[in-house]
């Protein structure tokens, strides 16, 4: 059985006065993975601990479907949890660790063993069942932690930065495996990470947080391509952001003045894509891959190149606009350019995004 997690107006003030959460509400859909992403200290772990019951909220409610869980201790919530440090029991073998959730549920010894081995099988480390915890590598510990959390078929799976303790290569590998596992389990999962790529790769829904508040909730595509505010635009991926003045012109177009250039978008398209933006001051966001080197005749601006970074398949270019604004964009790795060149560029108008100015 899996539930939808409903968080309503959660707040948390720690005894020392730190406001870790200031009124957070959202729903984690049933059988889907919701990723919570934000810089360190934004309150992600706090939310996870409140969902699990390890921490009491200062205000607000947690419910699984219609069951209010707010005051239930963690052991009564039937949740599986993977900790950042894995928190495997050093006094037990791998198998005993995985059996633990079944042991406290009074499952018979034979059943325990069978189900624990199945779980270890599903994370591909059954041969290590008799090892002690300290004999495992970081990646193996991560798998044990996952097996241990799902073996008793919890209603909800909570993961707190499960990959952050691993080195980059293993992290990449396990991210893919974890994504596959989560899909396969069909369990309501909440996955905390400070890595925006991980958040987008694993989440059906991404919740972006900062300073104990929600900055945006959306699909990975939405938070990446249509950030709701400057924070999200800067935190998720790399963004060029420019202050712009928007004016409706007589010929049913919106003119967007960037200071170093001007682009226009048909009124219908503009209203459909940015219904909240009326005109006046706003911000324009374009991602590096939305900017390309163009023919002079249809260029939007000229950029003086200040640095080049060879990334293998492409070159990451940083340059300056005529009015001194920074622009980052990319070019194919065969492009012949060097620092100091002035190149004409064009924005992909289908991909730019307008962010209303916060009041």
């Amino acid at each position: 059985m899996s539930y939808e997690i409903r968080l309503h107006d959660l707040s948390k003030i720690y005894p020392d006065g730190t406001v870790a959460l200031g009124g957070v509400s959202f729903i984690c859909p049933r059988s889907a993975c919701t990723t919570l992403v934000g810089p360190s200290g934004s309150g992600k772990t706090t939310i996870l601990k409140i969902i699990s019951g390890l921490l009491d909220a200062s205000g607000g409610t947690v419910s699984f479907d219609d069951r209010v869980m707010t005051h239930l201790p963690p052991e009564k919530r039937n949740i599986g949890m993977v900790f950042q440090s894995y928190a495997l029991f050093p006094n037990m073998t791998v198998l005993e660790n995985v059996e633990f959730g079944l042991l406290v549920r009074k499952v018979s010894a034979a059943d325990r063993r069978r189900r624990a081995l199945e779980a270890l099988e599903s994370v591909q480390i059954a041969p290590l069942a008799q090892r002690r915890i300290r004999q495992l590598s970081g990646g193996q510990q991560q798998r044990v932690a996952l097996a241990r959390a799902i073996v008793f078929q919890p209603d909800i799976l909570l993961l707190d930065e499960p990959l952050s303790a691993l080195d980059a290569k293993i992290r990449q590998e396990l991210r893919g495996e974890l994504a596959a596992s989560l899909r396969q389990f069909k369990i309501t999962a909440v996955y905390v990470t400070h890595d925006q790529e991980e958040a987008m790769a694993l989440g059906d829904q991404v919740v972006v947080m900062d300073h104990g508040k929600i900055m945006q909730i959306g699909t990975p595509f939405e938070v990446y391509a249509r950030p709701a505010n400057e924070f999200v635009a800067r935190f998720i991926g790399t963004a060029n952001l420019y202050d712009v003045e928007i004016q409706r012109s007589a010929n049913a177009h919106f003119h967007i003045r960037l200071g170093f250039s001007e682009v226009s978008v048909a009124e219908d398209t503009f209203r459909q894509r940015w219904p909240g933006v009326a005109g006046g001051s706003a911000q324009l966001m374009c991602r590096p891959q939305d900017v390309s080197i163009a023919e002079l005749s249809n260029a939007h601006a000229r950029i003086r190149i200040s640095s080049l970074l060879f990334l293998g398949d492409r070159i990451r270019i940083t340059g300056e606009t005529e009015n001194g604004k920074t622009m980052r964009f990319e070019a194919h790795n065969t492009t012949k350019i060097s620092v100091g060149d002035v190149v004409p560029i064009r924005l992909d108008l289908d991909c730019i995004h307008i962010i209303p100015v916060a009041d």
Binding site: L54, P73, P74, I79, A87, F100, L103, R132, I133, A149
Partner: protein, 335 residues
Amino acid sequence: MHSPRDGQGVAAAAAGVAHPALGVATPAAKTRRPISLWLVFCALSSLLLLFMIIAPLIVCLWGSFTTLKVMGAGSERGAGWEQVTTSRDEEKAESQSAAASVDLGVFAKGARNIAGSVTTFWYQYVWEVYGGTLHLSLMLAVISICICIVLGVLGGYALVRYTFFGKNLIEEMILLPLSLPGIAVAVALIETYGVLRGSWVIILFGHLLYTLPFMMQSVTNTLRSFDFVTLEQAASSMGAGPWQRLRYILLPNLKHAIIVGSLLVFAISLGEFNASFLLNTPFNQTFPAALYDSYTNDSFQVSSAATCIFMFIVIPALMAMQLIGGKEMRDIGGA
């Protein structure tokens, strides 16, 4: 497996075979020099250890098995020896039933007439005279261990797990007795619990003041050496209630800390002299206090035997402690 140094030695030897003419002695000498320094250092420290600890032990051991004849005249300490043992006999006779008392006067006279050079007479003597105090000491040590386990685990848990007002003060208070002279502790205890004077309970109090800090330290060190708060959170997220967490997580992980702490408590309680000496009366005399009596009143052989009995009990405890301490490091992986 070869250590890197062995490897070097092998390489040097190989070089020696290959180029006998090229002054092979130099690399060989280079590899040998640190070893010989090391040997000298080892020898010196062993000698020091021998003189400081082992030599007195050997002398005690020897003395405890030898007869007066071997020791020669004058080894029998003081003319009052017979008298003292006799008066001790009378004292005992007062406090215990006459039937249970041993005729120590006869014992003492018998001592002079033991034939041969090796005897276990002194051990019998110590057993007869000081057996009661040894029994009391062992009892106090065992009770101290039990109380220290309960208080040490509960208290150590509370200190590590929770933050509360006065926590630092409590931690300091627990350590305080260690830095107080035994006499101060004894006087304070007598002033406060005067009614208990003459009962073993007051000595137990004294022992607890000196032993609890060690159990506490052993427990809190272990609790702090792994992120045990998170372990407990993990257990409760997996459905374990408070008792299951205690049984499956806390106690198993504290097992070695408790064993090591208990052995420390045992060794300290058994050997505690300062406070016990001031707190003891003829009715609640501990073995170390009795040892003092035997040093001042009895012959060298008697005190040697008493010391040896003491060692036979304490040394195995210390060895067990070392064994278990090493095993703990291997099992948990040094956290």
